[in-house]
Amino acid sequence: MADVRSSRRRRSGPGLAPWLFISPWIFGFVVFTAGPLAFSLYMSFFDWPIVGEREFVGIDNYLTMVMEDPQFWESLWITTKFALLFVPFNIVLSFLMAMLLNLGLKGTGVFRTAFYLPSVISGVALVTIWSWIYSSRYGLLNYLLGLTGIEGPNWLGDPSFAVVAIVIASLWGLGGTMLILLSGLQAIPKELYEAARISGVPGWAQTLFITLPMLGPMLLFAIITSIISAFQQLTIALLLTKGGPLGSTYFFAMYIYDNAFKYFDMGYAAAMSWIMFALVLAMSLLVLKSSAAWVHYEGEVKGKDGANG
Protein backbone atom coordinates (compact mmCIF):
# COMPACT_ATOMS: atom_id res chain seq x y z
CA MET A 1 0.00 0.00 0.00
CA ALA A 2 2.71 2.43 1.02
CA ASP A 3 4.62 1.54 -2.10
CA VAL A 4 1.73 2.24 -4.37
CA ARG A 5 1.08 5.58 -2.75
CA SER A 6 4.67 6.72 -3.00
CA SER A 7 4.97 5.63 -6.58
CA ARG A 8 1.76 7.43 -7.39
CA ARG A 9 3.09 10.51 -5.71
CA ARG A 10 6.28 10.27 -7.68
CA ARG A 11 4.34 10.00 -10.90
CA SER A 12 1.92 12.78 -10.18
CA GLY A 13 4.57 15.22 -8.99
CA PRO A 14 5.21 17.75 -11.71
CA GLY A 15 8.99 17.46 -11.75
CA LEU A 16 10.78 18.98 -14.70
CA ALA A 17 8.08 18.50 -17.33
CA PRO A 18 6.16 21.79 -16.88
CA TRP A 19 9.37 23.77 -16.99
CA LEU A 20 10.34 22.09 -20.23
CA PHE A 21 6.99 23.03 -21.71
CA ILE A 22 7.15 26.67 -20.73
CA SER A 23 10.89 27.04 -21.30
CA PRO A 24 10.58 28.56 -24.81
CA TRP A 25 8.64 31.47 -23.42
CA ILE A 26 10.92 31.89 -20.39
CA PHE A 27 13.97 31.95 -22.64
CA GLY A 28 12.32 34.28 -25.14
CA PHE A 29 11.11 36.57 -22.37
CA VAL A 30 14.59 36.90 -20.89
CA VAL A 31 16.32 37.39 -24.25
CA PHE A 32 13.76 39.45 -26.17
CA THR A 33 11.87 41.31 -23.43
CA ALA A 34 13.34 41.44 -19.93
CA GLY A 35 16.94 41.71 -21.08
CA PRO A 36 16.28 44.48 -23.61
CA LEU A 37 14.07 46.21 -21.06
CA ALA A 38 16.77 46.27 -18.41
CA PHE A 39 19.38 47.22 -20.97
CA SER A 40 17.28 50.12 -22.22
CA LEU A 41 16.92 51.42 -18.67
CA TYR A 42 20.69 51.16 -18.28
CA MET A 43 21.23 52.96 -21.59
CA SER A 44 18.97 55.78 -20.55
CA PHE A 45 21.59 56.91 -18.02
CA PHE A 46 24.26 57.26 -20.69
CA ASP A 47 25.21 59.55 -23.48
CA TRP A 48 25.25 56.69 -25.95
CA PRO A 49 26.13 57.43 -29.57
CA ILE A 50 25.82 54.50 -31.97
CA VAL A 51 29.57 54.62 -32.60
CA GLY A 52 32.21 56.10 -30.33
CA GLU A 53 32.60 56.58 -26.59
CA ARG A 54 29.62 56.37 -24.29
CA GLU A 55 29.56 58.35 -21.13
CA PHE A 56 27.59 57.93 -17.92
CA VAL A 57 25.45 61.00 -17.41
CA GLY A 58 23.10 59.91 -14.62
CA ILE A 59 19.60 61.33 -14.97
CA ASP A 60 20.75 64.05 -17.37
CA ASN A 61 18.80 62.59 -20.27
CA TYR A 62 15.60 62.80 -18.27
CA LEU A 63 16.38 66.31 -17.05
CA THR A 64 17.23 67.58 -20.53
CA MET A 65 14.00 66.13 -21.85
CA VAL A 66 11.81 67.78 -19.26
CA MET A 67 13.64 71.09 -18.85
CA GLU A 68 15.26 71.90 -22.18
CA ASP A 69 13.56 70.01 -24.97
CA PRO A 70 10.45 71.74 -26.32
CA GLN A 71 10.13 68.99 -28.95
CA PHE A 72 9.61 66.45 -26.17
CA TRP A 73 6.62 68.34 -24.81
CA GLU A 74 5.34 69.11 -28.27
CA SER A 75 5.36 65.48 -29.42
CA LEU A 76 3.93 64.36 -26.10
CA TRP A 77 1.06 66.82 -26.54
CA ILE A 78 0.43 65.66 -30.12
CA THR A 79 0.28 62.05 -28.96
CA THR A 80 -2.05 62.96 -26.10
CA LYS A 81 -4.29 64.88 -28.48
CA PHE A 82 -4.40 61.86 -30.74
CA ALA A 83 -5.25 59.55 -27.84
CA LEU A 84 -7.96 61.90 -26.56
CA LEU A 85 -9.60 61.78 -29.97
CA PHE A 86 -8.91 58.18 -30.86
CA VAL A 87 -9.79 56.32 -27.65
CA PRO A 88 -13.32 57.72 -27.09
CA PHE A 89 -14.27 57.45 -30.77
CA ASN A 90 -12.83 53.97 -31.02
CA ILE A 91 -14.79 52.79 -27.97
CA VAL A 92 -18.07 54.58 -28.69
CA LEU A 93 -18.18 53.67 -32.39
CA SER A 94 -17.17 50.06 -31.70
CA PHE A 95 -19.88 49.87 -29.06
CA LEU A 96 -22.59 51.32 -31.30
CA MET A 97 -21.63 49.04 -34.16
CA ALA A 98 -21.56 46.03 -31.87
CA MET A 99 -25.02 47.00 -30.59
CA LEU A 100 -26.30 47.22 -34.18
CA LEU A 101 -24.90 43.80 -34.97
CA ASN A 102 -26.35 42.39 -31.77
CA LEU A 103 -29.92 43.20 -32.81
CA GLY A 104 -30.07 39.83 -34.53
CA LEU A 105 -31.12 41.25 -37.89
CA LYS A 106 -30.85 39.16 -41.05
CA GLY A 107 -27.56 39.52 -42.90
CA THR A 108 -25.67 40.43 -39.74
CA GLY A 109 -22.79 38.19 -40.79
CA VAL A 110 -22.19 40.19 -43.94
CA PHE A 111 -22.17 43.50 -42.09
CA ARG A 112 -19.89 42.11 -39.37
CA THR A 113 -17.46 40.97 -42.05
CA ALA A 114 -17.56 44.37 -43.74
CA PHE A 115 -16.75 46.14 -40.47
CA TYR A 116 -13.87 43.83 -39.68
CA LEU A 117 -12.40 43.76 -43.18
CA PRO A 118 -10.08 46.80 -42.87
CA SER A 119 -8.54 45.32 -39.71
CA VAL A 120 -7.22 42.50 -41.83
CA ILE A 121 -4.91 44.76 -43.76
CA SER A 122 -2.89 47.39 -42.03
CA GLY A 123 0.29 49.37 -42.14
CA VAL A 124 1.58 50.31 -45.55
CA ALA A 125 -1.42 49.19 -47.59
CA LEU A 126 -3.86 50.98 -45.31
CA VAL A 127 -1.84 54.15 -45.41
CA THR A 128 -1.52 54.03 -49.20
CA ILE A 129 -5.27 53.76 -49.55
CA TRP A 130 -5.89 56.68 -47.20
CA SER A 131 -3.34 58.90 -48.85
CA TRP A 132 -5.56 58.90 -51.98
CA ILE A 133 -8.76 59.32 -50.14
CA TYR A 134 -7.30 62.41 -48.49
CA SER A 135 -5.57 63.75 -51.58
CA SER A 136 -6.74 67.31 -52.13
CA ARG A 137 -6.69 67.00 -55.93
CA TYR A 138 -8.12 63.61 -56.93
CA GLY A 139 -9.14 62.58 -53.45
CA LEU A 140 -12.32 60.60 -53.03
CA LEU A 141 -13.21 62.32 -49.78
CA ASN A 142 -13.06 65.86 -51.06
CA TYR A 143 -14.91 64.87 -54.22
CA LEU A 144 -17.75 63.44 -52.14
CA LEU A 145 -17.72 66.46 -49.83
CA GLY A 146 -17.81 68.63 -52.94
CA LEU A 147 -21.03 66.90 -54.07
CA THR A 148 -22.71 68.10 -50.88
CA GLY A 149 -21.36 71.58 -51.43
CA ILE A 150 -18.64 71.46 -48.79
CA GLU A 151 -15.16 72.42 -49.86
CA GLY A 152 -12.89 69.83 -48.28
CA PRO A 153 -9.69 70.92 -46.60
CA ASN A 154 -6.21 69.88 -47.63
CA TRP A 155 -6.37 67.03 -45.14
CA LEU A 156 -2.73 66.05 -44.98
CA GLY A 157 -1.30 69.46 -45.81
CA ASP A 158 -3.13 71.53 -43.22
CA PRO A 159 -1.78 71.30 -39.65
CA SER A 160 -5.23 71.66 -38.13
CA PHE A 161 -6.60 68.65 -40.03
CA ALA A 162 -3.65 66.26 -40.17
CA VAL A 163 -4.15 64.75 -36.70
CA VAL A 164 -7.86 64.30 -37.42
CA ALA A 165 -6.96 62.58 -40.69
CA ILE A 166 -4.74 60.12 -38.81
CA VAL A 167 -7.48 59.50 -36.25
CA ILE A 168 -9.97 58.65 -39.01
CA ALA A 169 -7.50 56.35 -40.78
CA SER A 170 -6.81 54.59 -37.47
CA LEU A 171 -10.52 54.25 -36.69
CA TRP A 172 -10.94 52.36 -39.93
CA GLY A 173 -9.32 49.45 -38.07
CA LEU A 174 -11.79 49.39 -35.18
CA GLY A 175 -13.06 45.93 -36.17
CA GLY A 176 -10.99 44.19 -33.51
CA THR A 177 -12.42 46.27 -30.68
CA MET A 178 -15.90 45.85 -32.11
CA LEU A 179 -15.59 42.05 -32.13
CA ILE A 180 -14.49 42.01 -28.51
CA LEU A 181 -17.45 44.15 -27.45
CA LEU A 182 -19.82 42.10 -29.62
CA SER A 183 -18.80 38.86 -27.96
CA GLY A 184 -19.31 40.58 -24.62
CA LEU A 185 -22.81 41.65 -25.63
CA GLN A 186 -23.67 38.15 -26.73
CA ALA A 187 -22.64 36.80 -23.35
CA ILE A 188 -25.22 38.90 -21.47
CA PRO A 189 -28.10 36.66 -20.36
CA LYS A 190 -31.27 37.41 -22.31
CA GLU A 191 -33.39 36.91 -19.18
CA LEU A 192 -32.16 40.21 -17.79
CA TYR A 193 -33.70 42.09 -20.69
CA GLU A 194 -36.91 40.05 -20.53
CA ALA A 195 -37.32 40.80 -16.86
CA ALA A 196 -36.70 44.48 -17.54
CA ARG A 197 -39.20 44.51 -20.39
CA ILE A 198 -41.85 42.89 -18.25
CA SER A 199 -41.32 45.51 -15.57
CA GLY A 200 -41.74 48.19 -18.22
CA VAL A 201 -38.18 49.49 -18.30
CA PRO A 202 -37.69 51.46 -21.53
CA GLY A 203 -35.01 50.52 -24.04
CA TRP A 204 -32.57 53.32 -23.28
CA ALA A 205 -32.69 52.47 -19.57
CA GLN A 206 -31.99 48.81 -20.37
CA THR A 207 -28.87 49.88 -22.24
CA LEU A 208 -27.80 52.15 -19.41
CA PHE A 209 -28.54 49.83 -16.49
CA ILE A 210 -28.06 46.36 -17.97
CA THR A 211 -25.89 46.45 -21.09
CA LEU A 212 -23.21 48.91 -19.99
CA PRO A 213 -22.58 47.45 -16.52
CA MET A 214 -22.62 43.88 -17.83
CA LEU A 215 -20.20 44.81 -20.58
CA GLY A 216 -17.87 46.38 -18.00
CA PRO A 217 -14.94 43.94 -18.13
CA MET A 218 -14.89 43.97 -21.93
CA LEU A 219 -15.11 47.76 -22.06
CA LEU A 220 -12.26 47.97 -19.61
CA PHE A 221 -10.12 45.69 -21.73
CA ALA A 222 -10.99 47.64 -24.87
CA ILE A 223 -10.19 50.99 -23.26
CA ILE A 224 -6.81 49.86 -21.97
CA THR A 225 -5.73 48.29 -25.25
CA SER A 226 -6.92 51.41 -27.11
CA ILE A 227 -4.81 53.64 -24.88
CA ILE A 228 -1.77 51.44 -25.36
CA SER A 229 -2.14 51.39 -29.12
CA ALA A 230 -2.85 55.15 -29.27
CA PHE A 231 0.38 55.94 -27.47
CA GLN A 232 2.39 53.65 -29.69
CA GLN A 233 0.96 55.09 -32.88
CA LEU A 234 3.83 55.29 -35.33
CA THR A 235 3.34 53.43 -38.61
CA ILE A 236 0.41 55.45 -39.91
CA ALA A 237 1.90 58.83 -39.06
CA LEU A 238 5.33 57.81 -40.34
CA LEU A 239 3.90 56.85 -43.71
CA LEU A 240 0.95 59.18 -44.12
CA THR A 241 2.36 62.53 -43.02
CA LYS A 242 5.99 61.83 -42.06
CA GLY A 243 5.34 64.02 -39.01
CA GLY A 244 4.22 67.02 -41.03
CA PRO A 245 2.81 69.41 -41.95
CA LEU A 246 4.84 71.75 -39.76
CA GLY A 247 5.42 68.98 -37.26
CA SER A 248 1.71 68.79 -36.44
CA THR A 249 1.75 64.96 -36.48
CA TYR A 250 5.19 64.49 -35.01
CA PHE A 251 4.18 61.76 -32.56
CA PHE A 252 6.08 60.82 -29.44
CA ALA A 253 7.00 57.41 -30.87
CA MET A 254 8.32 59.12 -33.99
CA TYR A 255 10.57 61.37 -31.92
CA ILE A 256 11.94 58.28 -30.16
CA TYR A 257 12.52 56.62 -33.52
CA ASP A 258 14.30 59.69 -34.92
CA ASN A 259 16.48 60.08 -31.84
CA ALA A 260 17.57 56.47 -32.10
CA PHE A 261 17.93 55.88 -35.82
CA LYS A 262 18.39 59.36 -37.30
CA TYR A 263 20.36 61.28 -34.67
CA PHE A 264 21.87 58.05 -33.25
CA ASP A 265 21.36 59.32 -29.72
CA MET A 266 20.50 55.91 -28.27
CA GLY A 267 20.66 56.93 -24.61
CA TYR A 268 18.26 59.81 -25.05
CA ALA A 269 15.88 57.70 -27.10
CA ALA A 270 15.96 54.98 -24.45
CA ALA A 271 15.13 57.52 -21.75
CA MET A 272 12.19 58.77 -23.82
CA SER A 273 10.91 55.25 -24.35
CA TRP A 274 10.89 54.76 -20.59
CA ILE A 275 8.82 57.89 -20.16
CA MET A 276 6.36 56.40 -22.64
CA PHE A 277 6.29 53.12 -20.75
CA ALA A 278 5.68 54.93 -17.46
CA LEU A 279 2.86 56.98 -19.00
CA VAL A 280 1.13 53.99 -20.56
CA LEU A 281 1.44 52.03 -17.34
CA ALA A 282 0.17 54.91 -15.22
CA MET A 283 -2.84 55.46 -17.45
CA SER A 284 -3.70 51.77 -17.60
CA LEU A 285 -3.51 51.55 -13.82
CA LEU A 286 -5.64 54.66 -13.49
CA VAL A 287 -8.32 53.19 -15.74
CA LEU A 288 -8.06 49.88 -13.92
CA LYS A 289 -8.42 51.57 -10.53
CA SER A 290 -11.33 53.74 -11.56
CA SER A 291 -12.99 50.67 -13.05
CA ALA A 292 -13.77 49.38 -9.57
CA ALA A 293 -16.61 51.91 -9.65
CA TRP A 294 -18.15 50.76 -12.91
CA VAL A 295 -17.09 47.19 -13.65
CA HIS A 296 -19.00 44.26 -12.23
CA TYR A 297 -17.60 40.81 -12.55
CA GLU A 298 -20.20 38.60 -10.91
CA GLY A 299 -23.00 39.19 -13.36
CA GLU A 300 -24.87 41.14 -10.71
CA VAL A 301 -26.66 44.24 -11.86
CA LYS A 302 -26.51 47.32 -9.72
CA GLY A 303 -28.58 50.41 -10.08
CA LYS A 304 -27.44 53.92 -10.81
CA ASP A 305 -24.07 53.59 -9.12
CA GLY A 306 -23.01 51.00 -11.61
CA ALA A 307 -24.00 52.77 -14.76
CA ASN A 308 -22.64 56.20 -14.01
CA GLY A 309 -19.12 55.41 -15.07
Partner: protein, 270 residues
Protein backbone atom coordinates in the same frame (compact mmCIF):
# COMPACT_ATOMS: atom_id res chain seq x y z
CA UNK B 1 -39.44 51.67 -38.49
CA UNK B 2 -36.62 51.04 -36.02
CA UNK B 3 -35.60 48.08 -38.13
CA UNK B 4 -35.38 50.18 -41.28
CA UNK B 5 -33.26 52.70 -39.44
CA UNK B 6 -30.93 49.95 -38.21
CA UNK B 7 -30.55 48.53 -41.71
CA UNK B 8 -29.92 51.99 -43.10
CA UNK B 9 -27.17 52.56 -40.58
CA UNK B 10 -25.62 49.12 -41.17
CA UNK B 11 -25.54 49.65 -44.93
CA UNK B 12 -24.13 53.16 -44.60
CA UNK B 13 -21.38 52.05 -42.21
CA UNK B 14 -20.50 48.99 -44.29
CA UNK B 15 -20.09 51.25 -47.31
CA UNK B 16 -17.73 53.45 -45.31
CA UNK B 17 -15.63 50.45 -44.37
CA UNK B 18 -15.54 48.74 -47.73
CA UNK B 19 -15.52 51.67 -50.19
CA UNK B 20 -11.82 52.51 -49.83
CA UNK B 21 -10.91 48.96 -50.95
CA UNK B 22 -13.12 49.13 -53.97
CA UNK B 23 -11.78 52.58 -54.81
CA UNK B 24 -8.22 51.22 -54.70
CA UNK B 25 -9.16 48.26 -56.87
CA UNK B 26 -10.86 50.54 -59.40
CA UNK B 27 -7.85 52.86 -59.39
CA UNK B 28 -5.57 49.91 -60.13
CA UNK B 29 -7.35 48.99 -63.36
CA UNK B 30 -7.82 52.50 -64.76
CA UNK B 31 -5.98 54.20 -67.60
CA UNK B 32 -3.84 57.25 -67.02
CA UNK B 33 -6.56 59.44 -68.56
CA UNK B 34 -9.28 58.01 -66.34
CA UNK B 35 -7.10 58.53 -63.31
CA UNK B 36 -6.82 62.27 -63.73
CA UNK B 37 -10.35 62.75 -65.04
CA UNK B 38 -12.65 65.03 -63.14
CA UNK B 39 -15.25 64.16 -61.95
CA UNK B 40 -13.57 60.89 -60.95
CA UNK B 41 -14.28 57.75 -62.95
CA UNK B 42 -16.11 55.23 -60.76
CA UNK B 43 -16.42 52.55 -63.42
CA UNK B 44 -13.48 52.29 -65.88
CA UNK B 45 -14.38 51.70 -69.52
CA UNK B 46 -12.29 48.54 -69.66
CA UNK B 47 -10.60 46.94 -66.66
CA UNK B 48 -6.88 46.92 -67.35
CA UNK B 49 -5.81 43.86 -65.44
CA UNK B 50 -2.40 44.01 -67.10
CA UNK B 51 -1.65 46.99 -64.80
CA UNK B 52 -0.89 44.48 -62.06
CA UNK B 53 1.83 42.75 -64.05
CA UNK B 54 3.32 46.04 -65.18
CA UNK B 55 3.48 47.40 -61.64
CA UNK B 56 5.00 44.20 -60.30
CA UNK B 57 8.00 44.37 -62.64
CA UNK B 58 8.88 48.01 -61.96
CA UNK B 59 10.78 46.97 -58.84
CA UNK B 60 12.09 43.54 -57.78
CA UNK B 61 8.78 42.60 -56.16
CA UNK B 62 9.48 38.91 -56.74
CA UNK B 63 12.40 39.22 -54.35
CA UNK B 64 10.32 41.15 -51.83
CA UNK B 65 7.57 38.55 -52.08
CA UNK B 66 10.05 35.74 -51.54
CA UNK B 67 11.43 37.46 -48.41
CA UNK B 68 7.92 38.03 -47.06
CA UNK B 69 6.98 34.40 -47.67
CA UNK B 70 10.11 33.14 -45.90
CA UNK B 71 9.47 35.37 -42.89
CA UNK B 72 5.77 34.64 -42.65
CA UNK B 73 5.98 30.87 -43.13
CA UNK B 74 8.92 30.25 -40.81
CA UNK B 75 7.69 32.57 -38.07
CA UNK B 76 4.15 31.19 -38.19
CA UNK B 77 5.37 27.62 -37.80
CA UNK B 78 7.49 28.68 -34.83
CA UNK B 79 4.69 30.69 -33.28
CA UNK B 80 2.19 27.81 -33.50
CA UNK B 81 4.63 25.27 -32.10
CA UNK B 82 6.00 27.33 -29.23
CA UNK B 83 2.84 29.10 -28.15
CA UNK B 84 0.85 25.87 -28.00
CA UNK B 85 3.64 24.13 -26.10
CA UNK B 86 3.87 26.89 -23.50
CA UNK B 87 0.09 27.19 -23.26
CA UNK B 88 -0.11 23.47 -22.53
CA UNK B 89 2.51 23.87 -19.82
CA UNK B 90 0.51 26.60 -18.10
CA UNK B 91 -2.86 24.94 -18.53
CA UNK B 92 -2.10 21.36 -17.51
CA UNK B 93 0.52 21.46 -14.76
CA UNK B 94 0.69 22.74 -11.24
CA UNK B 95 4.13 23.87 -10.23
CA UNK B 96 5.61 26.33 -7.79
CA UNK B 97 5.59 29.88 -9.14
CA UNK B 98 3.22 29.09 -11.99
CA UNK B 99 0.69 31.79 -11.23
CA UNK B 100 3.35 34.41 -10.70
CA UNK B 101 5.04 33.56 -14.00
CA UNK B 102 1.68 33.69 -15.72
CA UNK B 103 1.06 37.18 -14.35
CA UNK B 104 4.47 38.24 -15.67
CA UNK B 105 3.45 36.83 -19.03
CA UNK B 106 0.23 38.84 -19.03
CA UNK B 107 2.04 41.98 -17.89
CA UNK B 108 4.59 41.60 -20.67
CA UNK B 109 1.82 42.38 -23.15
CA UNK B 110 1.74 45.94 -21.82
CA UNK B 111 5.33 46.79 -22.64
CA UNK B 112 5.44 49.20 -25.56
CA UNK B 113 7.51 47.97 -28.45
CA UNK B 114 9.37 51.28 -28.49
CA UNK B 115 11.09 50.42 -25.21
CA UNK B 116 12.50 47.20 -26.60
CA UNK B 117 13.18 48.53 -30.09
CA UNK B 118 16.54 50.16 -29.40
CA UNK B 119 18.18 47.44 -27.27
CA UNK B 120 16.81 44.77 -29.62
CA UNK B 121 18.42 46.57 -32.52
CA UNK B 122 21.75 46.59 -30.68
CA UNK B 123 21.36 42.97 -29.66
CA UNK B 124 20.66 41.83 -33.21
CA UNK B 125 23.48 44.04 -34.42
CA UNK B 126 25.82 42.33 -31.95
CA UNK B 127 24.69 38.92 -33.19
CA UNK B 128 25.27 40.02 -36.79
CA UNK B 129 21.57 39.62 -37.60
CA UNK B 130 20.94 43.12 -38.92
CA UNK B 131 20.11 42.97 -42.59
CA UNK B 132 19.08 39.34 -42.34
CA UNK B 133 15.55 37.98 -41.92
CA UNK B 134 16.41 36.38 -38.57
CA UNK B 135 15.15 39.21 -36.31
CA UNK B 136 11.76 38.82 -37.99
CA UNK B 137 11.66 35.03 -37.59
CA UNK B 138 13.54 33.85 -34.53
CA UNK B 139 11.60 35.68 -31.76
CA UNK B 140 8.39 34.01 -32.95
CA UNK B 141 9.91 30.64 -32.08
CA UNK B 142 9.70 31.56 -28.40
CA UNK B 143 5.98 32.22 -28.33
CA UNK B 144 4.01 35.40 -27.87
CA UNK B 145 2.18 36.26 -24.67
CA UNK B 146 -1.18 37.04 -26.26
CA UNK B 147 -1.27 33.80 -28.25
CA UNK B 148 -0.12 31.74 -25.26
CA UNK B 149 -2.91 33.31 -23.23
CA UNK B 150 -5.48 32.59 -25.92
CA UNK B 151 -4.41 28.97 -26.35
CA UNK B 152 -4.26 28.40 -22.60
CA UNK B 153 -7.85 29.60 -22.26
CA UNK B 154 -8.81 27.16 -24.99
CA UNK B 155 -7.02 24.20 -23.42
CA UNK B 156 -8.77 24.92 -20.12
CA UNK B 157 -12.07 24.11 -21.84
CA UNK B 158 -10.84 20.61 -22.76
CA UNK B 159 -11.93 18.11 -20.07
CA UNK B 160 -9.12 16.93 -17.80
CA UNK B 161 -10.54 13.36 -18.01
CA UNK B 162 -9.11 13.03 -21.50
CA UNK B 163 -5.61 13.64 -20.15
CA UNK B 164 -6.18 11.24 -17.27
CA UNK B 165 -7.41 8.49 -19.55
CA UNK B 166 -4.36 8.90 -21.76
CA UNK B 167 -2.07 8.86 -18.76
CA UNK B 168 -3.67 5.60 -17.59
CA UNK B 169 -2.82 4.15 -20.97
CA UNK B 170 0.79 5.10 -20.36
CA UNK B 171 1.09 8.28 -22.35
CA UNK B 172 3.62 10.83 -21.14
CA UNK B 173 3.12 14.60 -21.11
CA UNK B 174 4.69 15.11 -24.54
CA UNK B 175 2.45 12.47 -26.08
CA UNK B 176 -0.63 13.96 -24.44
CA UNK B 177 0.32 17.35 -25.85
CA UNK B 178 1.24 16.25 -29.35
CA UNK B 179 -1.27 13.45 -29.97
CA UNK B 180 -4.31 14.69 -28.07
CA UNK B 181 -4.18 18.40 -27.43
CA UNK B 182 -2.66 19.61 -30.68
CA UNK B 183 -5.45 18.08 -32.78
CA UNK B 184 -8.12 19.23 -30.33
CA UNK B 185 -6.68 22.75 -30.37
CA UNK B 186 -7.05 23.05 -34.15
CA UNK B 187 -9.67 25.84 -34.17
CA UNK B 188 -7.62 27.93 -31.75
CA UNK B 189 -4.45 27.20 -33.72
CA UNK B 190 -6.13 28.39 -36.92
CA UNK B 191 -7.01 31.61 -35.11
CA UNK B 192 -3.48 32.10 -33.77
CA UNK B 193 -1.91 31.19 -37.11
CA UNK B 194 -4.17 33.64 -38.94
CA UNK B 195 -3.48 36.48 -36.53
CA UNK B 196 0.24 35.86 -36.56
CA UNK B 197 0.27 35.61 -40.34
CA UNK B 198 -1.52 38.94 -40.66
CA UNK B 199 0.80 40.65 -38.18
CA UNK B 200 3.92 39.29 -39.83
CA UNK B 201 2.68 39.99 -43.34
CA UNK B 202 1.67 43.58 -42.52
CA UNK B 203 4.62 44.36 -40.26
CA UNK B 204 6.38 47.53 -41.30
CA UNK B 205 8.44 48.73 -38.34
CA UNK B 206 10.35 45.49 -37.79
CA UNK B 207 11.60 45.24 -41.40
CA UNK B 208 12.20 49.00 -41.48
CA UNK B 209 14.54 48.86 -38.51
CA UNK B 210 16.26 45.53 -39.04
CA UNK B 211 16.73 45.51 -42.82
CA UNK B 212 18.64 48.00 -44.92
CA UNK B 213 19.61 46.18 -48.09
CA UNK B 214 16.99 46.20 -50.83
CA UNK B 215 17.53 42.52 -51.63
CA UNK B 216 16.33 41.71 -48.09
CA UNK B 217 13.23 43.90 -48.19
CA UNK B 218 9.82 42.43 -47.48
CA UNK B 219 6.74 43.43 -49.49
CA UNK B 220 5.65 46.14 -47.06
CA UNK B 221 9.04 47.84 -47.34
CA UNK B 222 8.98 47.30 -51.09
CA UNK B 223 5.64 49.07 -51.34
CA UNK B 224 6.79 52.01 -49.21
CA UNK B 225 9.97 52.27 -51.29
CA UNK B 226 7.85 52.13 -54.43
CA UNK B 227 5.67 54.92 -53.07
CA UNK B 228 8.74 57.06 -52.53
CA UNK B 229 10.34 56.37 -55.90
CA UNK B 230 7.24 56.55 -58.06
CA UNK B 231 5.07 58.95 -56.09
CA UNK B 232 3.19 59.93 -59.26
CA UNK B 233 2.57 56.39 -60.47
CA UNK B 234 -0.74 56.06 -58.66
CA UNK B 235 -2.08 53.21 -60.79
CA UNK B 236 0.92 50.98 -60.14
CA UNK B 237 0.94 51.78 -56.43
CA UNK B 238 -2.75 50.91 -56.25
CA UNK B 239 -2.07 47.63 -58.04
CA UNK B 240 0.72 46.62 -55.65
CA UNK B 241 -1.43 47.68 -52.68
CA UNK B 242 -4.21 45.38 -53.84
CA UNK B 243 -1.77 42.50 -54.30
CA UNK B 244 -0.42 43.12 -50.80
CA UNK B 245 -3.94 42.99 -49.37
CA UNK B 246 -4.86 39.73 -51.08
CA UNK B 247 -3.20 37.06 -48.89
CA UNK B 248 -4.60 38.41 -45.59
CA UNK B 249 -8.02 38.78 -47.20
CA UNK B 250 -8.03 35.23 -48.54
CA UNK B 251 -6.86 33.90 -45.19
CA UNK B 252 -9.48 35.97 -43.41
CA UNK B 253 -12.27 34.47 -45.50
CA UNK B 254 -10.96 30.96 -44.92
CA UNK B 255 -10.57 31.42 -41.17
CA UNK B 256 -13.59 33.66 -40.78
CA UNK B 257 -15.72 31.39 -38.67
CA UNK B 258 -12.94 31.04 -36.12
CA UNK B 259 -12.26 34.77 -35.98
CA UNK B 260 -15.91 35.73 -35.79
CA UNK B 261 -17.24 33.14 -33.35
CA UNK B 262 -16.21 35.19 -30.35
CA UNK B 263 -13.27 33.09 -29.22
CA UNK B 264 -11.23 36.28 -29.02
CA UNK B 265 -13.77 37.75 -26.67
CA UNK B 266 -14.23 34.72 -24.49
CA UNK B 267 -10.49 34.40 -24.01
CA UNK B 268 -10.30 37.98 -22.85
CA UNK B 269 -12.74 37.42 -20.03
CA UNK B 270 -10.84 34.59 -18.35
Amino acid sequence: MAKTLAYGLLIFLSALFVAPFLWTLITAVKTEAELTAFPPVFWPETWHWENFGIAWTKLPFNTFLMNSVIVVVLSTIGQLFSSSLVAFGFARFRFPGRDLIFIVLLASMMIPWDVKMIPLYMQFNFLGWINTLKPLIVPAWFGEAFFIFLLRQYIMTIPMEIDEAARMDGANAWQIYSRIHLPLMMPALVLVGTFHFMNAWNDYLGPLIFLNDQTKYTLTLGLSLFKGLHEQDTISIAAVTIILCLPPLVLFFVAQRYIMDGSIGSSVKG
